[in-house]
Symmetry: C2
Amino acid sequence: MITVALAKGALLKDSVARFATAGLDFSDVLDPDNRQLMVPSKCGSARALLVRNGDVPVYVAYGQAQLGVVGYDVLKEHQMPVAHLVDLGFGGCRMSVAVKEESIYKCAADLPPHCRIASKFTNCARDFFDSLDLPVELVHLTGSVELGPITGIAEAIVDLVATGRTLRDNGLVSIEDLFHSTARLVGHPLSLRLDRGLLQEVVDSMRT
Amino acid sequence: MITVALAKGALLKDSVARFATAGLDFSDVLDPDNRQLMVPSKCGSARALLVRNGDVPVYVAYGQAQLGVVGYDVLKEHQMPVAHLVDLGFGGCRMSVAVKEESIYKCAADLPPHCRIASKFTNCARDFFDSLDLPVELVHLTGSVELGPITGIAEAIVDLVATGRTLRDNGLVSIEDLFHSTARLVGHPLSLRLDRGLLQEVVDSMRT
């Protein structure tokens, strides 16, 4: 039985559609009345675990799920030992540095040394500012990072930007991108090595 | 202007009620149509920041909010430098170790050494199992921790239990409590030291 970890939220609908092309019908997870976290596929030969974004690589790394779909942003932030298999293309967004619209800073290197940066993605932010040789103080927030510059807890934020609406609504503007992110199919390395063709078939179908 | 950090979710309604007894009316944050994260009090002399549970001690520690209301569980997990002022009494719940109903483990010390424990509160869990001299492997999950024993990623979980319904619905049972948690009023230490009476008045009103 193949177990697949799917992230609740923005990536779910497209993830289900892509597994359908591989013959695995997880459409029951899209039912708004569904309260189950472990949902069998219609054919009965697989099941989906409905978990939070950040938990997908955990379930795959421990082998509780052989496959999973999650954003590249999460993979880069948490660095769990999972195999990156397919760039699925959907869920595109950018990891960006953003400041207040009226700010004098026009790119990340303009930011003053030892300024504060608020982010949910403090590992990504640390790597990026390290690569610029710019020492900054990172403030880890778990949500509503756009409040950072408004309240003054941070001069800038590092956050995911999809349409840019949240930034605009909060008077913020993106000044530099760290990287582009899309949904990725990931796998449990040991399960892939021991696979007798079943997993590889799913992976191959999702590659096209 | 006093700024107060309030946690979205289960504690919000009671938090607003307690600040009302201190003369600060933040009832606008309870309006289901409210999308603002920074909401002025009706009297205009204070404002509320609506943030995630885990971010309340961050805003208070950095002094962006002088006061905040948050569960003791969050304070214990994140250990931010904030002053614990008042036990507000509401939002009662227990931090518990739970296992499958059919499990042979009847208390935490029964768990086998090096077993896996899934939790959102890995710092609390580490302290607890260290105090038992029981080495365990902690698996950090960000949500739906009750899936842990079901999927087999962990033998037990450490999680907040209020009514116990989530545990029962998932065939789990609590075998030991780490501590009891309630909502706490916390403050920014420097703001409290520099206070000319205004903050102290709010704190005193909320103590009764």
